[in-house]
């Protein structure tokens, strides 16, 4: 029966391993938990779940398996359409989205409903099992839909809309840590070691040479430890179609912030023009002319642009093509200027690589960047870091 429980957790996408399951069995054998189901619940959790963000999911799976109190709400529940739209975006693969984009909303909804029906169970990710004040998870059980965030999001056809009004984008949160570990390891490829600061490491070669010169009398040489001195400049596309990629961008940003001592970043929207900004809440007041940025952060900076490069080609090729204001010079001109300053700059694109060929704007930017565009995946990141190290 416990094996079934274990498989059930796995089926619910909890990252449990056999080793941890064996630990649970061992703990039961040693009578760490008494016979109460409460104890068993706590024990299973401490053995199997290693991340508090999975507690909810675990509670839910546990409740289901041990005949939790209620059922998963069916599709007949009253779900606001806006929310369905959001869920749809989560459940469809990018290819499917691209394919369906042309079909229109009604068709899309139909398709999505079918999909939801197939995936009733997974869909229940939106409900969680509530305990009573944490004392017993079995108190008043019940499911409720969670995460219904409505409004604010324009699900429609973003690419063509000319947005004149001031939109508010939120700043990327650099405290997000989920999944950043792997990103950090990939970022470590980017390094330029230098010795600076306090002399706290024995310089073995220096000491030997010094001692020899000293006729055998010890001449200890100390030196500062090696540190990664690489300087990184990030440009982050924010808002609009990038909202779909906010999580991976936050992870990257967060990882980069902790990995690189010398990190500078600026935001832009869709394409880079004559100015960028640092705070999305004050971006209309606090602008940084790109000319200044190029002068201030010289060639020794490694430049990484993060963006989906998904826009109307006008936004790259035409003066005045920006969706936000009337730019005097075309985006392509500014991109070229950037590359004149930082010839090795790379572009990271969160859109899947296989879709790049279908988007004219991606093709354009990729050409400007001399093919130094990489997908925002671990593998892509590694390729990009290797390129920057050249």
């Amino acid at each position: 029966m416990l094996i079934d429980f274990f498989l059930h957790l796995k089926a619910k996408k909890l990252p449990v391993s056999t080793r941890e399951f064996l630990t649970l069995l061992e703990a039961l054998k040693e009578h760490v938990a008494e016979n109460s189901i409460d104890d068993f619940y706590f024990l299973a959790r401490t053995c199997l779940v290693k991340d508090e963000t999975h507690y909810d999911k675990f509670d839910q799976a546990f409740g289901e398996y041990f005949k939790g109190v209620t059922q998963i709400p069916g599709l007949d529940a009253d779900i606001p359409e806006e929310w369905l739209k959001m869920m749809m975006k989560k459940h469809l693969t990018p290819e499917e989205k691209a394919k369906l984009e042309k079909l229109g909303w009604d068709k899309l909804m139909e398709e999505f409903k079918k999909r939801l029906a197939e995936q009733k169970e997974r869909h229940a990710g939106g409900s969680k099992w509530i305990g009573t004040g944490g004392s017993s998870p079995f108190g008043h059980g019940g499911y409720h839909p969670e995460g219904i965030r409505i409004g604010g999001e324009s699900t429609g056809n973003r690419t063509a809309i000319k947005v004149w009004e001031n939109r508010e984008y939120r700043n990327l949160d650099d405290t997000v840590e989920l999944g950043t570990r792997n990103i950090k390891i990939a970022l470590r490829r980017l390094r330029r070691f230098a010795r600076e600061g306090a002399e706290d490491e024995l310089d073995m070669d220096g000491t030997i040479a010094g001692t020899a010169r000293n006729a055998g009398w010890l001449d200890i040489k100390m030196r500062p430890e090696r540190h990664n001195k690489v300087k990184v400049l990030l440009f982050l596309d924010i808002g609009g179609s990038m909202d779909d990629h906010i999580k991976v961008c936050e992870e990257l940003f967060s990882a980069a912030k902790s990995e690189f001592k010398h990190l500078e970043y600026f935001y832009f929207h869709n394409c880079i023009y004559d100015y960028v900004w640092k705070d999305n809440r004050r971006r209309h007041g606090e602008r940084f002319p790109l000319w200044d940025v190029m002068h201030k952060y010289g060639e020794d900076y490694k430049v990484v642009v993060v963006g989906d490069a998904t826009m109307s080609p006008y936004e790259i090729l035409q003066p005045g093509g920006s969706v936000e204001y009337s730019n005097e010079e075309a985006g392509a001109v500014w991109l070229q200027r950037m590359l004149d300053t930082w010839p090795r700059a790379v572009w990271l694109n969160p859109e899947p690589e296989r879709l790049w060929d279908y988007r004219h704007s991606i093709e354009l930017i990729r050409t400007i960047f001399n093919s130094r565009m990489f997908p925002l995946t671990l593998a892509g990141l590694e390729r990009a870091m290797r390129e920057l190290n050249k």
């Binding site: 703990a27 409460d38 104890d39 706590f42 779940v49 570990r181 950090k184 010890l218």
Partner: protein
């Protein structure tokens, strides 16, 4: 050996169970939770309750795994050899024992606290896998193997600054200390101030939990701030009425500096109070 909480530390049943699992199965226990929720204190209390020594290893960004085992002080040895010191002949004079070694050679149970493991480099936990698994390591300089006769209880805390490697996590029990609910908090306060007046406690707790709800706080006040604040309230003999106000949102509570330590939070809070006053 079983841990049941102590007179000075309130442990919820799930926390106790996690600690006892770690004690019984002799595997490390990883503790996470908001700052000030008693992670570090837990190790001290477990050691105290079981009556065994506590060996503490506080991790910094520069800490290396090897330092927990031992370090070879080659520089001192070189110097001594120049001075013709007799000590120099025995390399073991220059082996400095780390926290794990000290625990391993106790010959009886002990508690090792590895505090704030997330401060170190991301490879740090991986570098300790084998040592924590087998509770032994090899000293190359003296060709000896140090092995724990009795496996120590290992408690590791993390503030979530870095993600920990999966291989490491799989070997640990894990417990996330949920921020105490009002009930638990009442018991914690009781441990620190057994004679606190009931009405002062009630008012203070309401102020405290309301303050935690203020949106946009950079650092929410935690258990330790509440304790500090109560200490001041008692010392200054602040009456409960001073904490009560018809609309609590329109006054800054007395001695609020003990609760809000971040200057930006103080400003934010004052601004909110100011706005609430004007909107009345």
């Amino acid at each position: 050996m079983r841990f049941e909480g102590t007179d000075t530390y309130v442990a919820t049943p799930d926390l106790m169970l996690a600690v006892n699992a770690a004690i019984t199965l002799q595997r490390p226990l990883l503790i996470k939770g908001e700052p000030g929720t008693g992670k570090t204190m837990l190790a001290e209390e477990v050691a105290g309750a079981l009556g065994v020594p506590l060996l503490q290893w506080h991790i910094k960004s520069t800490t290396k795994a090897q330092q927990g085992l031992y370090e070879y002080d080659a520089v001192s040895r070189l110097r001594d050899s120049q001075l013709g010191d007799e000590k120099v002949k025995d390399i073991s004079n220059y082996i400095v024992k780390g926290v794990l070694w000290q625990a391993f050679e106790q010959g009886k149970p002990s508690v090792i606290l590895i505090d704030e493991v997330d401060k170190a480099d991301i490879e740090f936990p991986n570098d300790l896998l084998r040592e924590l698994d087998r509770m032994e390591f090899h000293v190359y300089e003296t060709r000896q193997t140090v092995r724990a006769a009795v496996r120590p209880i290992v408690i590791i805390t993390s503030n979530n600054e870095k993600e920990l490697p999966d291989a490491f996590l799989r070997r640990c029990f894990f417990h996330y200390i949920k921020f105490p609910d009002k009930d638990t908090m009442g018991r914690i306060v009781d441990v620190h101030f057994p004679n606190l007046k009931k009405d002062l406690l009630r008012e203070a707790m309401e102020v405290f939990f309301e303050l935690r709800e203020v949106p946009g706080m950079k650092k929410k006040p935690s258990t330790s701030e509440l304790i500090d604040w109560l200490k001041l309230l008692v010392a200054e003999d602040i009456p409960p009425e001073a904490l009560r106000s018809k609309d609590r949102k329109t006054v800054v509570p007395p001695l609020a500096g003990a609760l809000l330590k971040n200057e930006q939070d103080v400003h934010l809070f004052e601004r909110l109070v100011f706005m609430a006053k004007h909107n009345r």
